[in-house]
Amino acid sequence: MKHDPRRYSMPDVVRGKRFELRAGEQKVVVDHLSKGIYPAPPDQLRARFRFDKAYVLMGRHQLELTTPVAHKLGFALATNGGAALYLGGVVLFEVGGERYSLPGESAIQLGGVLLKKVDRADDWQRDHPRRRVAT
């Protein structure tokens, strides 16, 4: 039977799920925290794409992502953002040891926009089938 969110109150079904991606010493983490203890992002967060990659721009930092990873990250941001919005708290976004705390709304929007950028980068890859892209 298909799950129907209307059978439950909103906080019962909106759950965050920790997302963690490791590559050697580096890691990217998205998680829902019930309390925010980290400083707010120092600058604006943006999602962009260029050619076959998606990017998250955080102040002076730039996180370059292949489309499969960006898809997972965008989904995790939107999901944990929903948990923060409806259950309270903040979204932890940790990149290479730097920790950002995002309000739920910001995480939802950043995640959704990143998913759109993944779509654009994916289109670019299909338009350039002979160009070797990272996987």
Partner: protein, 153 residues
Amino acid sequence: MIGRMYGLAIASQAQTTSKTLMELVSAADGVTLLERVYIKQTSFDTSENLGSTFQRITTTGTGTATTPIPFQVGDPAYGATPETNSTIEPTYTASTNIIEEGFNVLSGLLWTPANDDEVIVMSPSALFGINLDVAPSGSMNFSYGCTLREIGG
């Protein structure tokens, strides 16, 4: 293209008062992007200004369960059940009025995000309402709908 595209469409439905036309809901395990919203009027020939707001919802109201139709034949059903033509208004979340747009009933309203940053994102199980926030002067028929992109689910 990532995700699956769905169209939610209601044809020529009589409206006499301000109300929530669409109460959208995202699947419990999916993220939904709102890519297009339109409200057209099909029965009244005199110029009249109305308005619409797009806003997050905290508590669901009551309306007619409506099934979004997949754009691509064979795609699975949308992961949740939006409602249309509310009979009991939902409770809107304070200070989350994302779009407030006036329109002439002769030309109608069409909203699409100006760029990717403006797309409306619904997290899992999130509710989102699109309403007619100004009552029409008399009974008018409205055709309205939206395009949804479901990711995950």
